[in-house]
């Protein structure tokens, strides 16, 4: 394992310290329990939007704390859900009297820990569960689908609504809508290495890829031979489109997300190929996002997310945001 690291035990703390110091105008970090808040207080009566999850997906979620997006983020250990005390401490710090909206990716661990937090909290709270990964079959008898990159989109949109005065209920409804309007799927060319494990989570042959991989290196739909960018893009889009069923002239946001170890140039190739395919299908790309936003440590790979837009969602996408990893309009 080659990493910029001093010890597995201090990995998270040092990284958070660096993050806090580099962006002290935007965020403040608290430790034991670990959570990140905006450096400036928000106005009374604003719904507090809090997300969290295992670390290793940076910039998600800490990089999205700031004006127009999250009020706080709770980073767990690498790939492990944060614990209730983190969520409770964060909530106490940022709840402004209008309640707390939790944005939680659909994993057993995250759900249980966030649920325990809600139960232990005194104030009002709601939860938006993201489950956009179409690689996994959806079912109410099982844990269902994983929450992956669309979480970024949900956080932006809900964050904007909360900033503009939306109520807890409205934020919850909009968050659920954006999640329902979104589908994602990813592919990995290499594994990631959890610091504590000191070795790759899985092994891939020199010509293999994991198709439908999860953001923790969980196996996907199948192990496959590496294909051309166009073929991969095509297969990812097909799975997403089969699920989302966008109609002729539906407006969408096309989000090409890097898993951490793939260069931007390649993400733009995927974007180009996806655009050709979507143009052909008369799906209208009206908003775009390309970059490493929901990563899996140093994994080489990428995912595509489509989000169906309507005027409300588009407006909230365009509104000003000022976080460490996403910033426009201010």
């Amino acid at each position: 394992m080659k990493k910029f690291i001093n010890s597995e035990d201090t990995f998270l703390k040092e990284s958070l310290q660096g993050f806090a110091a580099a962006h002290q105008d935007i965020v403040t970090c608290f430790y034991d329990p670990n959570f990140i808040t905006r450096s400036k207080a928000t106005k009374v009566g604003k719904v507090a939007v809090i997300s969290g999850g295992g670390s290793g997906h940076e910039p998600m979620h800490g990089g999205f704390v700031g004006y127009g997006m999250l009020d706080a983020a709770c980073p767990g250990f690498v790939f492990s859900s944060p614990s209730p005390d983190q969520m409770i401490a964060a909530s106490e710090k940022v709840d402004n009297g209008a309640g707390v909206l939790f944005i939680v990716k659909n994993y057993s661990g995250d759900i249980m820990n966030f649920q325990m937090s809600s139960e232990m909290m005194t104030g009002a709270s709601e939860t938006v569960l993201t489950n956009d990964d179409v690689a996994v079959e959806d079912s109410s008898f099982t844990t269902g689908r994983r929450g992956v990159a669309a979480t970024v989109i949900v956080e932006k949109i809900v964050g904007s609504l909360a900033e503009s005065g939306g109520s807890l209920k409205e934020c919850k409804i909009l968050g659920d809508k954006v999640n329902k309007n979104s589908g994602s799927m990813g592919v990995a060319f290499s594994s990631c290495t959890v610091p504590a494990a000191r070795k790759p989570t899985f092994e891939l042959g020199a010509d293999e890829m994991e198709f439908g991989v999860g953001i923790h290196g969980e196996p996907g739909r199948r192990r496959d031979k590496v294909k051309s960018a166009l073929d991969i893009t095509n297969e990812l889009l097909e799975a997403i489109i089969e699920d989302l069923k966008p109609e002729n002239n539906d407006e969408i946001l096309l989000f090409v997300n890097g898993m951490g170890g793939t260069p931007l140039t390649e993400l733009y190739i995927i974007y180009d190929n996806a655009k050709k395919i979507l143009d052909n299908k008369k799906v209208k790309i009206v908003r775009s996002l390309v970059g490493n936003y929901c990563t899996s440590l140093e994994m080489q790979g990428a995912s595509i997310t489509l989000t169906k837009l309507d005027q409300e969602i588009t407006n909230h996408w365009d509104s000003a945001v000022h976080t460490a990893a996403m910033r426009w309009g201010m």
């Binding site: 250990f77 492990s80 057993s108 661990g109 249980m112 820990n113 690689a135 099982t142 494990a197």
Partner: protein, 209 residues
């Protein structure tokens, strides 16, 4: 049965888990995200470090401290599940008046029931519940039937092992392995393995006293 029993068992469990660490790590790499062994090891270490604090506490307070430590120090599914187990065990009434085997089993069964509720998983879903539920049932019935405690411990060890092995051919419907669908078949569930080892260790401590 006092707090020394808890610490003693934590230390025994630490040795057993460490001895089986590679296997457990591999199980969670195969059908999960590979962190289960580290979560469990971190949890046990934190509990053992509590020794100077909980040594002088009442049983309910000690269990609560352990629960909070596990809950906050592990994170992930295991943190919530094992944390809930201990938190609920502490809630059984009058445990500070002394604990006999009957009460201990009652505590454990209560804890398992709470774990079942938070995780929403039942037997057959390829999780630690395939170990916890059968063992809790076996122990409860044993107490009802007033079975000999040593025999009951041996039964529990067997139940745990059976439950753990049963996960191998199940298709996961809860937890991270459920994302794999069919492909989860053929692998033992890591949480089932770690729970089984812990249960075995505690039962053997009792057998050896």
């Amino acid at each position: 049965m006092g707090t020394d029993f808890l610490i003693k068992n934590a230390k025994e469990i630490q040795a057993v888990i460490d001895n089986n660490a590679l296997e457990i790590e591999k199980l969670d790499q195969e059908i999960g995200d590979g962190d289960h062994i580290f979560n469990v090891q971190r949890g046990i270490k934190l509990v053992i470090e509590l020794e100077p604090i909980i040594k002088h506490l009442s049983m309910s307070k000690a269990l609560n401290q352990i629960a909070m430590k596990i809950l906050s120090g592990i994170g992930g599914s295991s943190g919530a599940l094992f944390g809930t187990l201990f938190m609920t065990m502490a809630k059984v009434s009058n445990i500070d008046d002394g604990i006999d085997y009957k009460k201990a089993i009652n505590m454990f069964a209560n804890g398992v029931e709470a774990v079942k509720q938070i995780g929403k998983a039942d037997v057959g879903e390829k999780t630690m519940m395939d170990v916890l539920i059968p063992v809790a049932n076996c122990l409860k019935q044993g107490v009802e039937k007033k079975k000999d405690i040593k025999g009951l411990m041996r039964e529990a060890i067997e139940e745990a092992e059976k439950g753990m092995l049963s996960t191998k051919n199940l298709i996961a419907t809860k937890g991270r392995a459920s994302f794999l669908g069919e492909r989860s078949k053929g692998h033992i569930d890591p949480g089932a393995r770690s729970s089984q080892l812990m249960i075995k260790t505690v039962c053997e401590t009792i057998l050896n006293t």
